[in-house]
């Protein structure tokens, strides 16, 4: 039964694409306490920046890495010039800012690169086949890279002093300040990391599909479904939730037309919020 | 006289904390009853349960002989049981007068239909409600502040507004959560007079209070709560003599 293997590989690929940007949403929610709707647009931006670098014959993996750093810096710059001013104003202002940023970034990409569909210069290669599983080298590299970054991220949150500062700030900001943690440094680090993670996710998504200005927007709902399902604030939770949602939506194809995959993610999201308005796994606070 | 409020076997647990523990309590119609207890004894939680904002785990609450423990907050309020909040929750962007004009029940102008019909009926109703609101403000001594934004009131005036909002509906029972906390002595005297006036007009009062002078002077009966459980009830004089109460306080707070 080859179909089972095909579904499983697709699920793994989707999960790998969703994990890092969903973790970015989750991290920002955990530390800064707002849902950031611009994360999908940072995916798009990162993917196009990588395309730009590929144009200078930089290999894709290096382009992706450089684009991710650049995207992180851009996210940081936007945060410091605009978002920083509404830190004390509650949830709504940064949400509205992120919507404005979403419109700005999406159309910024459209302004520079147009509406045309682009592809990375990836040469066709013979896929790996074993036990009925068919995986292209690009997919294997993408999944591997995401796994490595995920492990690094979790380790950094757990064992570095910055990670401890992040967790402290998310659990109890006032107490964290008293112990000498500077919240703005934590916020800046989280924003940079979010831009970085989103960009990697954007490149990953673009290798599987193609580059259009709507690249990131199309996965907004699955990303939020994953972040909420994983318990906003938890990176490990995001990874597990990505696997779960990806598996469910792949197997839903047995019953539903393919175009309803995203709609299904919304139903999952709505259901989780209806049953547990505080999220499935836990509330607030950063976990590994 | 009969009991207006009767609580039997009430329990509420938050995680590992038994906030209300087999609580038994009654309030006689027409009385002023004090509810005291050390910090964290569960007094505010109890108010929150009685007024329908928090669901109890088990137990019964009877108000005027009828069960109310399953009702939502607004339904409890509609039956004539109203509460104030410990930290005043005035509606800041509205004027003091508007804060009160919001209160009357069954306003025609509160229904969507009123928006589509000629405004005469609503105007008339608003005049009646405004007069009633000004009268209540007169009673509590906020008449001069009627038209300023509620946000601009002082802390003590906000306490008065809480009381006024409660009074505006002419409830049968008012639950007052620390009406004099954080208020200067002059205003405390004033607040006590207002409460006596309210009581004299036929409203039963249940008051959480830390200021023992207020309790001794106002209340005919005092109930002591400790760790969610009623440990004593009686006249203020009896409570003052009660060793168990003394222990609870000494064990609960640092002098």
């Amino acid at each position: 039964m080859d179909e089972l293997q095909i579904y499983l590989v697709s699920a793994l690929v989707s999960a790998a694409i969703w994990t890092l940007p969903a973790a970015a949403i989750s991290l920002i929610y955990g530390v800064l306490r707002y849902p950031n709707f611009a994360i999908p647009e940072f995916m798009t931006l990162g993917a196009y920046l990588a395309l730009l670098l590929c144009g200078f014959s930089v290999p894709l993996w290096l382009s992706a890495l450089l684009a991710a750093v650049l995207t992180g810096l851009i996210a940081l710059a936007v945060d410091q010039t605009i978002f920083r001013f509404v830190r004390a104003a509650g949830t709504l202002p940064p949400v509205l800012l992120s919507l404005g940023l979403m419109l700005f970034l999406q159309n910024g990409v459209r302004f520079i690169w147009g509406n045309d569909v682009h592809q990375y210069p990836i040469e066709l290669a013979r896929p790996f086949v074993f036990a009925g599983f068919i995986v292209t080298p690009t997919q294997a590299a993408m999944i591997g890279a995401v796994a490595v970054i995920l492990v690094f991220g979790i380790a950094a949150l757990r064992w570095t002093s910055f990670g401890r500062a992040v967790r402290a700030t998310s659990t109890n900001p006032e107490l964290a300040v008293v112990t000498g943690i500077r919240p703005e440094v934590v916020y800046g680090g989280i924003i940079f990391a979010s831009g970085f993670l989103a960009a990697i996710g954007g490149v990953a998504l673009a290798t599987e599909t193609s580059l259009t200005p709507l690249l990131g927007w199309r996965v907004l709902i699955p990303l939020f479904a994953v972040a909420i399902l994983g318990g906003l604030g938890s990176v490990t939770g995001a990874a597990l939730a990505a696997l779960l949602l990806a598996t469910v939506s792949e197997f839903s194809l047995l019953l539903l037309p393919v175009t309803y995959k995203t709609a299904l993610a919304f139903l999952v999201l709505a259901l989780v919020l209806l049953v547990r308005p505080t999220g499935l796994i836990r509330t607030g606070g950063i976990e590994r | 006289m009969s009991n207006l409020l009767e609580i039997a076997g009430l329990n509420k647990r938050f995680g590992g904390l038994q906030a209300v523990d087999r609580c038994e309590l009654s309030v006689r119609e027409g009385s002023i009853t004090g509810l005291i207890g050390p910090n964290g004894a569960g007094k505010t939680t109890l108010f929150s349960i009685i007024s329908g904002f928090t669901k109890p785990d088990s137990g019964q609450i009877r108000f005027g002989g009828r069960r109310i423990e399953g009702l939502g907050a607004y339904e409890v309020a509609r039956r004539g049981l109203r509460r104030t909040f410990q930290i005043p929750r005035e509606l800041k962007e509205m004027s003091v007068l508007e804060n009160l004009m919001l209160v009357p029940e069954g306003q025609f102008g509160d229904r969507l239909l009123s928006v589509l019909l000629p405004g005469a009926r609503v105007r008339q109703e608003e005049q009646v409600n405004e007069a009633a609101a000004r009268e209540v403000l007169e009673t509590v001594g906020l008449a001069e502040k009627a038209d300023i934004a509620a946000a601009r009131l002082s802390g003590g005036q906000k306490k008065l507004l809480e009381l006024a909002r409660c009074l505006m509906s002419r409830p049968r029972l008012m639950l007052l959560d620390e009406p004099t906390a954080g208020v200067n002595p002059t205003l405390i005297r004033h607040l006590m007079k207002v409460m006596q006036k309210v009581h004299a007009s036929g409203i039963t009062l249940l008051i959480i209070e830390h200021n023992m002078n207020v309790i001794m002077e106002l209340c005919e009966r005092v109930v002591v709560l400790d760790r969610g459980h009623v440990i004593a009830a009686g006249t203020p004089a009896e409570i003052q003599q009660n060793k168990q109460v003394l222990d609870a306080y000494l064990g609960g707070v640092d002098a």
Binding site: G100, W217, T259 | A73, R82, E93, Q107, D110, S114
Partner: protein, 289 residues
């Protein structure tokens, strides 16, 4: 040129309905709704399908309002306990969910091709089709404005504003907050539905890609610009947004360094930036909303 002006005004009037609706939900009652386009889209499809089946415009508008309003009520009833941030996520997600349904259900809505040949069934004698449409739509908007204004200033509007400030207090004085919140959502969605119905009838063609999140963002900017809660301000804000969006199309003839796609992108970039600046100024240090 006149035709162009009429077109801008028609768009302004259509967005006016949607923004007035959001002002009731968010401005007055404090319920953030980032998915107002969902109700706009449902109204548009509703009018498209029924007028094609021969229903005159006015009954079609009423029907659109009813269907969109019911959907708004359903959303409100499903989300009463959700906090502000979750409501933002759910409404935004819901709008994309609705768009996906129209995209996928070919039998209902024509799928990605949308619906063409929607009748624009009204003409006032002596005026061309566009101008008479503008007059009728503007008259309807005036009615919606009158309704919104009365709603805001009647006791019911006071109750809605009280819910925005502190829902707990409103419950404590014996008012059913869920009923009022649902009502606000229904009214806001119904107004958006009317806007959508007019949109479909004016363009005579609709497709799912017209109902992306942008329209939700336009009206958020409009309500924010006009100060949340102010009916007149909302309309003024809508006018500004409409001129910024549609008016700048005029520049196409004068600016030749950028092509059409780029100009469209620039307009939306400008709107995104404007939204960010308004928020930063409105909620920035030393100010409160």
């Amino acid at each position: 040129m006149t035709a162009y002006l009429v077109a801008i005004l028609i768009f302004a009037v259509i967005y006016g309905f949607v923004a007035l609706g959001l002002n009731i939900q968010w401005g007055l009652t404090g319920l953030i709704n980032l998915g107002q386009v969902a109700f706009f889209a449902v109204g548009a499809y509703c009018a498209a399908l029924t007028t094609q089946a021969g229903l005159p415009l006015l009954p079609a508008l009423v029907l659109a309002a009813l269907v969109s309003g019911s959907l708004g009520g359903a959303v409100a009833l499903f989300t009463p306990r959700l906090r502000e941030d979750y409501l933002a996520i759910v409404t935004l997600g819901f709008s994309e969910f609705v768009r996906l349904i129209f995209l996928n259900e070919k039998w209902l809505a024509g799928g990605p091709d949308g619906i063409a040949g929607i009748p624009r069934p009204v003409t006032i004698p002596g005026l061309d089709s566009e101008t008479s449409f503008l007059v009728i739509a503007a008259v309807l908007l005036a009615v919606a404005f009158w309704f919104s204004q009365r709603l805001a200033h009647f006791p019911i509007g006071r109750t809605l504003r009280a819910i925005r400030e502190d829902e707990t207090v409103v419950a404590s004085i014996g008012k059913p907050t869920l009923t009022y919140k649902t009502l606000a959502f229904v009214l806001g969605a119904a107004l958006a539905g009317i806007g959508g119905a007019l949109f479909a009838s004016y363009l005579t063609y609709i497709s799912p890609d017209m109902f992306g999140p942008n329209i939700s963002i336009y009206v958020l900017a409009a309500v924010l610009l006009g100060r949340q809660g102010s009916t007149l301000g909302t309309l003024a804000g809508t006018a500004v947004v409409a001129v910024l969006l549609e008016g700048t199309r005029l520049l196409k003839d004068y600016i030749t360094v950028v092509d059409g796609v780029q100009l469209a992108a620039l307009r939306l970039m400008a709107l995104g930036l404007a939204l960010m600046i308004i928020v930063a100024v409105r909620y920035g240090p030393g100010r409160r909303a």
